[in-house]
């Protein structure tokens, strides 16, 4: 591992940790603008996290160590994923530790831990959230894999840096298979990141929540880490989407100048992606839970279509 490679790796993780709350703040701001409200400051997520770290942690009397360990494990898994997703450079040394499939596994690890922690206290909302989260998870995973399959059929690789390298260096043309996969990926990301139409991140309406129901019993630093981790998850998914469908501007060699150019490119792309997310959320209504199979089934079919188009047309 070269020094410069290590530095680029470090920069990538640091940027991810620093930018993730900003992305959430930006999406919230856009959502407020789109619904004609006065927007909160973009820095609110940082302040929330800081405030939560200061507070005393309140833990339920019958919580087991799993409950207290989970925020750290989830945060660790998301940070690990941030080190692997090629957001700034394609030659980050840790990226070989996990390819796209292993990345999906890493997200599943985080999900299972949150679900277990939600069941740990033994409240009705906790287990309700855990059940729904696992339900959405098993519906979303096949669709997500189909998207990754389509991208890896084009590049002959499941390793994300190679996919980015291949996709970034083809001539600029619209690939119908990638268009299908892009729509499918957007739908899966909405479901995986607990956004409208599957879940609503700003709700505490008891009977409809999924993600919020699972983290209901968390407070203070544990909650801060979980909030930060879910911001990181959104950031990671956005970066995977950008890497697969808009792979331009990612540095292909770890030299300082290219990296410096990659950061503003990433911020610009994330800003556009966040605005798009806010637009989708504003335009759609939350679905009933049992409509989620239809929604994710559509995503799955779109991804399959993309793959078949790729196999038939070779593009």
């Amino acid at each position: 591992m070269s020094d410069i490679g290590f530095l680029s790796q470090l920069l990538q993780v640091t940027v991810a940790l620093a930018l993730a709350p900003l992305l959430v703040g930006w999406v919230n701001q856009c959502r407020a603008w789109l619904s004609n409200k006065r927007a909160p400051s973009i820095l609110i997520p940082y302040r929330t996290i800081h405030k939560l770290f200061i507070k005393d942690a309140v833990v339920a009397e019958n919580a087991s160590p799993i409950f207290r360990l989970t925020p750290y494990v989830v945060f660790g898994a998301m940070t690990c994923a941030a080190a692997i997703v090629p957001s700034l450079a394609t030659d980050a040394p840790f990226a070989i530790a996990a390819d796209a499939i292993a990345l999906v596994g890493l997200f599943a690890l985080a999900r299972v831990f949150i679900a277990l922690a939600a069941m740990d206290i033994g409240t009705s909302f906790g287990s309700l959230g855990a059940r729904r989260e696992m339900f959405i998870g098993f519906l979303a995973e096949p669709a997500l894999l189909m998207v990754l399959f389509t991208a890896s059929l084009i590049s002959g690789s499941t390793s994300l840096p190679t996919i980015v390298d291949t996709l970034a260096h083809r001539e600029l043309a619209i690939y119908p298979s990638l268009a299908f996969a892009g729509v499918a990926f957007t739908m899966v990301s909405l479901a995986e990141n607990a956004r409208i139409p599957i879940d609503n991140p700003s709700t505490h309406l008891e009977l409809t929540m999924i993600h919020e129901a699972m983290i209901l019993e968390y407070s203070a630093r544990h909650l801060a880490l979980l909030e930060w981790a879910s911001a990181l998850k959104l950031y990671n998914y956005s970066c995977i989407g950008l890497a697969l469908f808009v792979p331009f501007g990612i540095a292909d060699a770890a030299n300082g100048l290219a990296m410096l150019g990659a950061v503003p490119a990433l911020i610009a792309k994330l800003a556009a992606g966040g605005a798009l997310l806010a637009l989708i959320e504003t335009l759609s209504a939350k679905l009933r839970l049992f409509r989620a199979p239809e929604f994710l089934g559509t995503a799955f079919l779109l991804a399959v279509l993309g793959m078949l188009v790729n196999l038939l047309l070779g593009s």
Partner: protein, 665 residues
Amino acid sequence: MVATPLGALVVAIVAWLAIGAVGLLRPRDLRMVQLLFPAGAAVALAVAGIAFAALASAPEQMVLPLGLPDLPFHLRLDALSAFFLILLACASAAVSIFSSGYFRAGEGSAPGLIGFQYHVFIAAMALVLVADDAYLFMVAWETMALASFFLVTTDHRIPEIRRAGFLYLLIAHVGAIAILLCFGVLQGGRGDYTFGAMRSAALTGIWPSIAFFLALFGFGAKAGLLPLHVWLPEAHPAAPSPVSALMSGVMLKTAIYGMLRVTFDLLHVQLWWWGAIALALGLLTALFGIIYAAVQTDMKRLLAYSSIENIGVIVAAIGLAILFEANAKPLLAAIALTAALYHALNHAFFKTLLFLVTGSVLHATHERSLGKLGGLIHRMPWVAWLALVGTLAIAGLPPLNGFVSEWLLLQAFLFTPSLPQSFVNMLVPLAAAALVLAVALAAYVMVKFYGVIFLGRPREPNLVHARDAGPRERIALAALAAGCVLLGLFPVTVIDAIDNVNGLLLATTVGHAGQSSWLLLAPFATGRSSYSPLIVLLVIVAVVLVTIQLVHRVWHGRVRRSSAWDCGYPLQTPRMQDTAEGFGQPIRQVFEPFFRMERHLPSPFDARPRYEVRVSDHFWAWLYVPIARAADAVSRLAGRIQQGRIGVYLTISFATLLALLFFVR
């Protein structure tokens, strides 16, 4: 004779039988039985060592002067046998140690008798793996079936257990007949039933396909492939937990061994559509098994259905390997076969672990129903934390072992660039999606399994008296959990071992085809796909430790304990947690056509409202009940000639004799 691995193995098998026989001397003496099981475990460890030594060496043969006069027993120890012997030995060593602390007097059969049946069972499984002729294979196979039947019916005073035992015996024999017929086809009319002769017999025309499907049916009955799976969810809950562990973890794998032996070793001719059918059947089995597992309320039934899923995954991988091998893509075939063997090994570890966990829970609480458990992590921390490892492993999560085999299998699925059958080419990625669906559902099921048993609050008041497992049980569980972790963290080392089997069956290896090093698994090339569980684990652990330190240094680590918030609802009883039915409800709703459901919903006017749902298997109504009716009708017809008069019977015998003389002459 003892100097060679095979000779040593024969001695070990005899030692197992002897240990079992000693138990018969004083069957009620619990203390002696508690010494016999560790002795069996020591033999198992020796077998593991022997098999490991034999893995890389050339096949070794031996003829034992036993059996019928001109049909001596042929034994052969090659890489395939050695691999499955390692699996058998590791799992049974742990189960033996667990059993020595588990079996107590006064529960069903006498402990000495259980010890005898148990050791005969293990010895028979080992013999199945080294048999080199159809005769010895069938003898060992039937001994295995009978020994396990008696173990399943340990508590034979309970009618349901007797019923489950007979169902198991019936399906085992239907399968055995198919295997016998398969060997009959394989010997090609030459009358030589050694495997060596079968290997060189050149079958032509439709015969290889007939042999393959007989093997798929016969071994599938033992493994639990659709539609012959019905005995698994009955027999596994009926058996004592160590026996369920052994049956699920090891015995099902002998069926996988048989499939591999017949398909790859004895039948070299391979047609691609065999693979396609095995792949489809495996995936159907996997999906079916896991969907049913999601709605179970009995913890051992849930694990039994999950075993059906895992067997489905293994058979799908075998199907894929056949598909590639028949299309002359040896590297891809080797990766698929590696995934199958790796998953078999993984399943032997985590399913054995989880079945033993249910044994500990059962002993501590006397409860098998998930709806009456809960919160056991506080009462049984050892069992709970070790069970967590098994749960994460079986849910297919990195960095544990279940994920590695699934990753390999997905790689094999994904890189099917140019099969000549373009239709199959398009269906293969869809098959991968079905696999991912099964794996994701497995995570759902295991969260339910673990969450309902160990997390939350105790659903019944008597659970507060539950005690943790004893030291021997803990050792066994810890060993299996350590196995899950090690198999997960060092995949390249494991694959190097499995490569001996690939070399034997496919004449190709995967280990060094790509750029794998001990740290990094990259079967093709690092640029194409790579996975390093150790790095992933180290990064996560490092981040967790640094985060804990930073949070506590920069801010603080104060904790206040209080009652649960739960949106401020004041009344919270343990009965308001999700039950097993509740947790499975989304699955029941989404996959409704898959189930046969009888539901009783309470009406608002019921004085004593009662909710009841019973989920059963379509296959009973669609397949088994019609067959049973037909068998009934045929036997009633045959009953007509049963007059009870000796003259009639003699006439029938005479007519038969005449007919035979006429036809056979």
